[in-house]
Amino acid sequence: MIAAQAGDGRVYEKLLLELLPYVRQQVAFRVREEAEREDVVQNVLVSLHRARHTYRPERPFVPWLRAVVRNASIDWLRARGRRLRHELSRDVGEMAEPSYEPLLPREERLSSELEGALASLPPNQREAVELLHVEELSVAEAAERVGVSPGALKVRAHRGYQALRALLMRPDL
């Protein structure tokens, strides 16, 4: 860590790779959703990177590391809670007034475009969008089918919608 504070990237990369199993173990202890753990692990690593100057060489390393991992995991869980609440309220609004109406004039091209856009999504986002909108399952049913919590499924679906929106609104289409 001292070498990393001095700017030695090679040593730093080695250190982070060595710490990775420990970070994954700690995150697994706090985050139940398996699909989201790797996101949290990356978040923790970024936090560790940002907090690297708060480590004092004369202090033991493990309590510092444990505190950074714990704080970053808690921050992530809080942020996810806020995001889910926000998305839930927004989704209720969208149900009352569908937001995909502006795409209707292009409906002849939409089917193939949509299929192409769907195919380019990450597998778990595509699965969430298809279960909800092709198979028309409820959030609870879709979550049960995938084996994640309803909240996690909604997050995946929401990210899928955002990616689809970005893909379908490209000016070259």
Partner: protein
């Protein structure tokens, strides 16, 4: 969902690694904050502020308890504020908070003791004098508070609420302690309202705006 693997993320972090200066040791930062507060007190005295009081000998015990309480709040709360900014120093935070709470209780007990056994009429408490002491306490506490806040910003604390509250309480307690040591007023109710409770009032009123400012500074850094 991140599109890069964790190993790629690590390589990216290592590639963009810049050297950093480790945060100063807590003891050094605490000593600097207290020294800065004392410099402000001496500067204030040199600029015409009141010198050390020659008080009523009969009241030395409640007076001394109030002064010791303020010093304990100052050292404990500033120490806890600094420790709260460093991951893994939770034990130091707890120790500092305990010292500060004990100091507050001691200060309030000293003030109340003086009020109960006062040989000066309590009705003589003058609001204008109280406000002047509170203002002086706040002014003398600015420098140590800012130093603790600078430490918090350097540590890039994401949620600076607790650290800010403790920095305010500690810095202002240091200022209020200096005011208590020099205030010519012999009324224990004045000590209680204008000295011992000033750090608490400052913490309650100023934490939210200062914490918001620190959070913005941290994001900009």
């Amino acid at each position: 969902m991140n599109t890069v693997t964790t190993e790629e993320r690590i390589r990216e972090l290592a590639r963009n690694l810049a050297p950093v200066r480790p945060i100063p040791p807590l003891r050094a930062a605490l000593a600097a904050a207290v020294a800065l507060g004392l410099v402000a007190v001496v500067g204030h005295w040199l600029l015409g502020g009141p010198g050390l009081r020659a008080g009523n000998a009969a009241q030395w015990l409640p007076y001394g308890a109030s002064l010791a309480g303020l010093v304990m709040v100052a050292v404990g709360a500033i120490g806890a504020a600094l420790a709260a900014a460093v991951p893994g120093r939770e034990a130091a935070v707890r120790l500092g908070v305990r010292a500060a709470v004990l100091g507050l209780v001691l200060g309030l007990a000293g003030g109340l003791w003086g009020v109960l056994y006062a040989d000066t009429p309590l009705a003589e408490v003058d609001l204008v004098t109280c406000l002047a002491c509170i203002r002086r306490g706040l002014m003398l506490g600015v420098a140590p508070t800012l130093l603790a806040c600078a430490f918090i910003v350097y540590a890039a604390l994401r949620n600076p609420g607790l650290g800010t509250a403790l920095a305010l309480a500690g810095g202002v307690a240091l200022g209020a302690g200096a005011v208590h040591a020099t205030c010519p007023n012999d009324n224990p109710l004045h000590w209680l309202l204008a000295h011992s409770l000033t750090p608490v009032a400052a913490m309650l009123v100023l934490t939210a705006p200062l914490a918001a400012l620190l959070a913005r500074k941290t994001r900009q850094a």
